[in-house]
């Protein structure tokens, strides 16, 4: 299993039946593939739909039903469509159980930076700032390092997405929970040691007596 799918598989274990969940573009989108059959999760797309599912039947798309990237999508029976004001009402109002987003950096305070690299990449924050400020649980799904450099830092050097502490960081190496006391190392990936994680992390990690291995299929 590749890095991205390993992360997605582990994140999917955090979702509970009936949850309203927003998946960011890219890696987080893969999470939907690992929801156990029979567990009904409601996926929101911030452009105005709850009950989104991938378009799996050819030639059934509509120009008026797209995901947040503007690509054709589909919905489950019982889905609902609404405008952007209502969409962010769900997000800000705490009705979203979980949001899964990618990350550029996370720091020891659990603060996420994921929307710009000054002078280089300025895509705009889109809905990310509202999602990180408003969802009940924020899960960051990202690779542990970028070109060998740690992404989990003492302090973010990039502009923050929100000052709010995220709930969980899932990488291909580890599951880390930001807490009031600091970053707790909760799990390591199969074949990865605690020392491997520490070596790839700039931030201080709090390590317990024993660190379980992620329950993911290889």
């Amino acid at each position: 299993m590749d890095t991205k799918n390993l992360i997605a598989q582990r994140v999917a274990q955090e979702l509970k039946a009936g949850d309203l969940v927003n998946l960011g573009i890219g890696l987080p989108t893969l999470v939907a593939n690992y929801v156990p059959a029979g567990t009904q999760i409601f996926f929101q797309s911030e452009n105005g739909v709850i009950g989104m599912k991938p378009l799996d039947i050819p030639n059934t798309s509509s120009d008026s039903l797209t995901d947040a990237g503007g690509m054709p999508t589909s919905v489950i029976p019982g889905a609902a469509a609404f405008d952007s004001v209502a969409s962010f009402g769900f997000i800000r109002g705490g009705h979203l159980a979980v949001t899964v987003l990618g990350g550029l950096q996370v720091d020891e305070a659990g603060q996420l930076a994921n929307w710009m690299v000054p002078g280089k990449m300025v895509p705009g924050m889109g809905g990310a700032m509202d999602l990180v400020s408003g969802a009940k649980r924020v899960i960051v799904a990202m690779t542990h390092t970028a070109k060998g450099a740690p992404k989990i830092l003492k302090a973010c050097t990039l502009p923050l997405t929100s000052v709010r502490r995220v709930a969980l960081i899932v990488t291909e190496m580890a599951v880390i929970e930001p807490t009031e006391d600091g970053l707790m190392l909760r799990e390591v990936a199969p074949g990865v040691t605690v020392d491997d994680v520490l070596a790839a992390t700039e931030a201080r990690l709090i390590v317990g007596e024993s660190t379980p291995t992620m329950a993911v299929a290889a």
């Binding site: 911030e46 739909v49 800000r92 705009g124 889109g126 700032m129």
Partner: protein, 217 residues
């Protein structure tokens, strides 16, 4: 009191330098006919408020390509390299606003509220230069209402009075924007006789719509 007029007359109303609220999300639910006509009439120095700038040569991306926009208020330009180029080159002023805040500021503008109090952006670069308001010990950012000279709206269906109905994710910013423009111009996929859209199906009420673009000739 017929509001229906031709595409060219509808856009004739809009002077250079005007501010425009334009519906759409990645071009889905954007008023493509109105945008094409803005380009055709060579409008310039526009202030455009829109969720994103879609892609080059698509949706409001065509206005970007035409260098018709002087100032842009938006939440996302990541899929339009030309917007980023004009911004970094200083050819276009870009004000990046979190998407939920953008929606709510437009809603505030259209419904007579003094502003928006939100947690979104507190402590980030978005908060720079803005006031905060403490409510019951928690800090909220005060974001100002947004209005514009014109709203350009895309509806799925309209009736001849100007009542509008939207479809799925082509809805997005259109309903809120239809409340916040001094003059509201709408195009629709279909214009039906009055009474065909039941009261519970009307999403934008005719009284706020000033001009409805007629069907293609």
């Amino acid at each position: 009191m017929c509001k229906v007029c031709s595409l060219s007359r509808a856009v004739d109303q809009i002077p250079n330098g005007a501010s425009l609220l334009i519906g759409g999300f990645m071009g889905v639910g954007s008023p493509h006919r109105l945008i094409d006509e803005l380009v055709k009439q060579g409008k310039r120095d526009l202030t455009v408020i829109i969720n994103d700038t879609a892609r080059p040569d698509f949706g409001v991306g065509k206005l970007v390509d035409a260098k018709a926009i002087r100032r842009l208020v938006t939440s996302h330009i990541g899929l339009n390299p030309e917007t980023q180029r004009q911004m970094l080159a200083g050819e276009m002023e870009v004000d990046l606003v979190p998407q939920g805040t953008l929606a709510e500021r437009i809603r505030a503008g259209g419904t007579g509220l003094g502003g928006v109090l939100t947690r979104t952006g507190v402590g980030t670069v978005v908060a720079e230069g803005k006031s905060t308001v403490d409510v019951d010990g928690e800090t909220f950012l005060l974001e100002r209402p947004l209005v514009a000279d014109f709203s350009l709206i895309r509806a799925w269906r309209a009736d001849h009075l100007g009542n509008l109905q939207y479809e799925l994710t082509a809805r997005n910013f259109n309903p809120a924007m239809a409340m916040a423009g001094a003059t509201v111009i709408a195009e629709a996929g279909e214009i039906v006789p009055v009474g065909m859209i039941a009261p519970d199906q009307v999403e934008t009420v005719s009284v706020v719509v000033d001009t409805l673009v007629s069907r293609e000739d």
